[in-house]
Amino acid sequence: METVSEQIITRSEILPIRTQIDLVHVRQRVRTWLSEERFTLIDQTKIVTAASELARNALEHGGGGQMEMSLLAVGARKGIRLKFSDQGPGIADIAMALKDGYTTAGGMGLGLSGSKRLMSEFDIQSSPGAGTVVTVTRWK
């Protein structure tokens, strides 16, 4: 009897998010991986855009952090996972932050909710004083 296939991480990389130039690097690096793994052009655009939004959030609202990028394989299915973490002030009301167009002093606006729509899976862990971790995954 075959067991349920588990998730395997086949590649992994960490990029710093400390300056605005890092945002450019994040976009370029994610794009490179996606093109190597042959994601469709439209999927590439969606994923890189989501990465750009979340990286910017980490920089502007989280005071900087990092992105961990991993390639996943479940059986024959491939996916990419991006994990953005910062040690910033954290989000008090996550539900509110996820509402479209929400603004706090320059706000995350569409970044969070938009990224959620662009990716297959979305998870956010955050609380005041404990920083924020946003993990998104897109399957091929």
Partner: protein, 130 residues
């Protein structure tokens, strides 16, 4: 620091964005454009984004800012050449760039700006009258 070049064609200004726009570059562009529009008394600004493969909310806001600044200085703005994948992504992201005129390419964009300058009927895409 690098700057995005601004070309003049008659009373119109043409900007082609080909590189990944980072914050300082975007701010510099807004600055330069404001100055050039005012100096020239420009009637229109055409922003060519056909080379942009990624347009996120930051670039969206930048384009909106430029259009707003131009409007205050009495100039029309057209954004041309958005790639299909970018358009699809922006819609999914929830950005519809309201109030920003768009055209398929530079030719159509220029045509619109020229007509707009002389008060003619627009060729660019806008919201339909209710």
């Amino acid at each position: 620091m690098e700057r995005i070049p601004i070309l003049r064609i008659g009373s119109l200004l043409l900007v082609t964005i080909q590189v990944d726009l980072y914050d300082d570059l975007a701010l510099q562009l807004q600055d330069d454009l404001s100055t050039r529009i005012a100096d020239l008394g420009a009637t229109g600004v055409l922003i060519d984004i056909s080379a942009l493969e990624i347009v996120d909310s930051f670039i969206g806001r930048t384009l909106a800012n430029i259009a707003a600044i131009a409007r205050v200085l009495d100039a029309e703005t057209v954004v041309v050449g958005m790639q299909p994948a970018v358009a699809i992504t922006l819609v999914e992201l929830g950005m519809s760039l309201p109030g920003i005129r768009t055209a398929l390419n530079v030719d159509l964009g220029m045509e619109y700006l020229r007509q707009a300058a002389t008060g003619g009927d627009g060729v660019g895409t806008d919201h339909y009258a209710e």
